[in-house]
C-alpha cells in the first residue's frame, strides 16, 4: 500500500499495539488529538484510554513512567512532542533508562521506545528544529535509530518496539508528508544496527542518515549526470550502534568519504564516522574524510539564515565536487 512516512509510523504503531497487548503509547496530546503531527491518529479509538495515554507536560515523567512499566514487562512507546523537548527528559534517558540493565547486573530489561520528531527545514526556529541525536549516541545501553525512508520508518519502529532495550527513534518532521512509498502489506522489520547502501558507486562514498538522505541522493544524481561521478550513498539508519562494517566497506571501496548530516558539525555523528575510517581504513583513503553538516550555530528562524545554516542539495553537490577533485 502506498503511504507517507507519517502514515508508516502510524501503521507500525497500530500493528504493534494489535500484535502485543503490552505495547502502549504515552505522551502529550497523543490521544484525542492524535499527536501534534497525527502520528497517533486513530489509536485512541482503536485501543482506548488505558493504552493511549494523554499526559501532562512532563517529559521526565513520561520517560520515567515508561521505564517503570518497561522493567515490569510492558513495552511502552513514549512520544516527545518535539525532539527539542527531549532535553527535559535527558536524565531519565541517559541515567535511568540507559543504565537500568547495567546497574541491575544484567537482571533487568527496559524495552522502551522514545519517539522524537526531529529536524529542521520547516521554519521551526531554535526550539522546533533540533537534531539532538548526538547527545545520545555516546550513551551505552541505548540504541538510536533515524529512518530516512518510508519503509524504514515502519520497519525500524517495529524493530524498536520489539527490542528489549531502550531505543530512541528520531523521526524527521520534514519527511512526514514529503515522501511516499509502496509498502508490503505483510509484517516486516528493519534490523537495528544495519546500514543500507542506497546507491552503488565507485568514485566517492557519501555517508548520511535521516533528513539528508533525499538531498544526498539528489546530489549524487546531479554529479552523475553533469560530472560523470559514481557516488555510493550509504544510509546509516542506526546511529547507535553504528554499522562499522558497512562504513569501512564503502570507505575501502571508494577511498573518498563525505559525511552529510543535518545535525551540527562539532560533536556530530560525522566526527565518529570519520574517526572510525581513519583508524581502520587509513591506507585505503585517497583524500581527507570531509563533513557537510549544519553550521555550528542554532537553527535560526528567518529563511536566509535557516538556508545558510542547513545542508541542502546544492551544498552537497559542491562538497562532492570538491572532494572528487582532491
Amino acid at each position: 500500500m502506498e503511504m507517507t512516512y507519517i502514515k508508516a509510523i502510524n501503521s507500525a504503531l497500530m500493528e504493534e499495539m494489535r500484535r502485543d497487548e503490552n505495547v502502549f503509547m504515552m505522551g502529550e496530546d497523543v490521544g484525542e488529538l492524535g499527536g501534534a503531527f497525527k502520528a497517533t491518529e486513530g489509536l485512541l479509538e482503536a485501543f482506548g484510554e488505558e493504552r493511549v495515554i494523554d499526559t501532562p507536560i512532563s517529559e521526565a515523567l513520561i520517560v520515567g513512567a515508561g521505564i517503570g512499566a518497561a522493567v515490569l514487562g510492558m513495552r511502552p512507546i513514549v512520544e516527545m512532542q518535539f525532539a527539542d523537548f527531549i532535553s527535559c527528559a535527558f536524565d531519565q534517558i541517559v541515567n535511568m533508562a540507559a543504565t537500568t540493565r547495567y546497574r541491575h547486573g544484567g537482571r533487568a530489561e527496559c524495552p522502551l521506545v522514545v519517539r522524537a520528531p526531529s529536524g529542521a527545514g520547516i521554519h521551526g526556529a531554535l526550539f522546533h528544529s533540533q537534531n539532538p541525536e548526538a547527545w545520545f549516541t555516546r550513551v551505552p545501553g541505548l540504541k538510536v535509530v533515524a529512518p530516512a525512508t518510508v519503509y524504514d520508518a515502519k520497519g525500524l519502529l517495529k524493530a524498536a518496539i520489539r527490542d528489549n532495550n531502550p531505543v530512541i527513534y528520531f523521526e524527521h518532521k520534514r519527511l512526514y508528508r514529503s515522501i511516499k512509498e509502496d509498502l508490503p502489506d505483510a509484517d516486516f522489520t528493519v534490523p537495528i544496527g544495519a546500514a543500507e547502501i542506497r546507491k552503488e558507486g565507485t568514485d566517492l562514498s557519501l555517508i548520511t542518515y535521516g533528513g539528508t538522505l533525499g538531498q544526498s541522493l539528489d546530489a549524487a544524481k546531479i554529479v552523475e549526470k553533469e560530472d560523470g561521478l559514481a557516488v555510493e550513498v550509504l544510509d546509516l539508519r542506526t546511529l547507535l550502534p553504528l554499522d562499522r562494517d558497512a562504513i569501512l566497506a564503502t570507505a575501502r571501496k571508494t577511498g573518498k568519504v563525505l559525511v552529510v548530516h543535518e545535525d551540527r558539525l562539532t560533536g556530530g555523528i560525522g566526527g565518529e564516522v570519520a574517526a572510525i575510517i581513519s583508524e581502520h581504513a587509513f591506507e585505503f583513503l585517497d583524500g581527507p574524510v570531509r563533513r557537510l553538516c549544519a553550521l555550528d550555530t542554532h537553527v535560526a528562524f528567518s529563511p536566509p539564515l535557516e538556508e545558510a545554516i542547513l545542508p541542502n542539495t546544492n551544498k552537497i553537490v559542491d562538497a562532492i565536487r570538491s572532494l572528487a577533485a582532491y
Binding site: N22, P56, L61, I67, G68, N95, H104, G106, R107
Partner: protein, 341 residues
C-alpha cells in the same frame, strides 16, 4: 510524639505477636548491618559512597512490613533497610557493597544502586528524585494489568525540591494510580537544613495540591509509622489513588561516611537519639509482657550471625573480571516476546 493506638489494639493472635517480633528483628538487623557497613568502610573494605540510615530504621520497616509479594519498591540512597525487609539476600547485598561479582549489580554500580528485580526492588541512580516517575510507571502497569499490587517510592525531603518529584506526583494524582510516596524527612539535605530547602513545614502539605492525601508521622516510632502505613497502603491497594506519607526523622551519621556533619548542633543529635526507634519499640514489647532481655539476646545473636555470614560470603566472593566491564549493557533480543502477563 504521636501515639499509635491503632496498632496497639490489634487482636492478640499468635500471628500478630510473631509479626511484631519480626519487626523488631528487622530494625535490629538493619542497625547491625549498617553498623558493620560503617566499620567495613573505615577498614577500606567497602569503598565509595556509603550513606547510613541509622536512626531511620522504623521507616523502612514500618512502610515495607505491610507490603505484599509483587509490590514494587524504589528505595532511596539511604534505604538499605528496604532491601533487607523486602527479602533481598543479605549476603548478596553485602557483596554488592564490596563490588563483588556476586553482588546485585555484579560490581557495576556502588552501594544501593544495584537493584534486585527478583524482589522488585528497583535500583536508584544517583539523581535524587528520579525514581519517582519510574515508580509511577510501575503503578501504571499494575493498573493496566488489573493487578492488586502497589508501587512505593522513597525520597528525602531534599529530593522533594526536584521537578521529577512534582511531575510524578501530579501525574499519579491525575491518573489516581496505586502508588505510595514516602518522604523521609531527616531535616538535612547533606548540610542544608530544612529552612533553606522549603518555605513550608511539612512536605506532606504538597499532596493536597496533587489531589491526594498527605500524612505526617513520627518516623522514629515504628508503631506510629505502621498505624499509618497499614491503613494508607490498604487504601492505595484498593484503588483509591496515591498517597504521601512524610516521616519526620533524623540521620545519626553524616550525610555519607566521609562527612563529619560539623554543620549540625551536637545537642540536636543527642536530643534525637533519645527518640531512637529501637528502644522505643523495646518499651512496647516489654509492656506487652515479653521477656525483653531474652528476646534481645536471641535477636542480637541472630542478626550478628546473618551479618557475619553476609560479610564472609562477600569477602570470599570473587571480584568481577576486567572484561565484564562491557557486559550487561544490552539485553539480548530473544524474539520479541513481551514479559508482562
Amino acid at each position: 510524639m504521636p501515639q499509635a493506638e491503632g496498632a496497639r489494639v490489634q487482636p492478640e493472635t499468635a500471628a500478630r505477636v510473631e509479626y511484631e517480633l519480626q519487626l523488631y528483628y528487622w530494625m535490629k538487623l538493619i542497625r547491625a548491618f549498617e553498623d558493620r557497613v560503617s566499620r567495613l568502610h573505615r577498614q577500606n573494605k567497602i569503598m565509595g559512597g556509603v550513606y547510613s540510615g541509622a536512626g531511620q530504621e522504623a521507616i523502612c520497616t514500618g512502610i515495607c512490613a505491610p507490603l505484599k509479594d509483587g509490590d514494587f519498591v524504589a528505595p532511596l540512597h539511604r534505604d538499605l533497610g528496604v532491601f533487607l525487609v523486602r527479602g533481598c539476600d543479605p549476603a548478596r547485598l553485602m557483596a554488592q557493597l564490596m563490588g563483588k561479582e556476586t553482588g546485585l549489580s555484579r560490581g557495576k554500580d556502588s552501594f544501593l544502586h544495584g537493584g534486585d528485580m527478583e524482589h522488585l526492588i528497583f535500583g536508584s541512580t544517583s539523581m535524587l528524585g528520579s525514581s519517582l516517575p519510574v515508580a509511577v510507571g510501575a503503578a501504571l502497569k499494575f493498573r493496566m494489568k488489573r493487578e492488586k499490587n502497589i508501587a512505593v517510592a522513597f525520597f528525602g525531603e531534599g529530593a522533594s525540591s526536584r521537578g521529577d518529584v512534582h511531575e510524578a506526583m501530579n501525574f499519579a494524582g491525575v491518573q489516581k494510580l496505586p502508588v505510595l510516596f514516602v518522604c523521609e524527612n531527616n531535616r538535612y539535605a547533606y548540610s542544608t537544613p530544612l529552612e533553606k530547602q522549603m518555605a513550608i513545614d511539612d512536605v506532606a502539605d504538597r499532596a493536597e495540591a496533587y489531589g491526594f492525601k498527605g500524612h505526617v508521622v513520627s518516623g522514629n516510632d515504628l508503631l506510629a509509622v505502621l498505624e499509618v502505613s497499614e491503613r494508607v497502603i490498604a487504601h492505595v491497594r484498593a484503588g483509591e489513588g496515591p498517597a504521601l506519607i512524610e516521616c519526620k526523622t533524623y540521620r545519626y551519621r553524616g550525610h555519607s561516611e566521609h562527612d563529619a556533619a560539623l554543620y549540625r548542633d551536637q545537642e540536636e543529635l543527642l536530643e534525637w537519639q533519645t527518640r531512637d526507634p529501637i528502644p522505643q519499640y523495646e518499651l512496647f514489647l516489654e509492656k506487652k509482657g515479653h521477656d525483653l532481655k531474652h528476646i534481645r539476646e536471641q535477636i542480637d545473636e541472630r542478626t550478628h550471625r546473618v551479618v557475619q555470614e553476609a560479610v564472609d560470603f562477600a569477602e570470599q566472593s570473587p571480584l568481577p573480571k576486567p572484561e565484564e566491564a562491557l557486559e550487561d549493557l544490552y539485553a539480548p533480543n530473544s524474539g520479541a516476546v513481551s514479559k508482562a502477563k
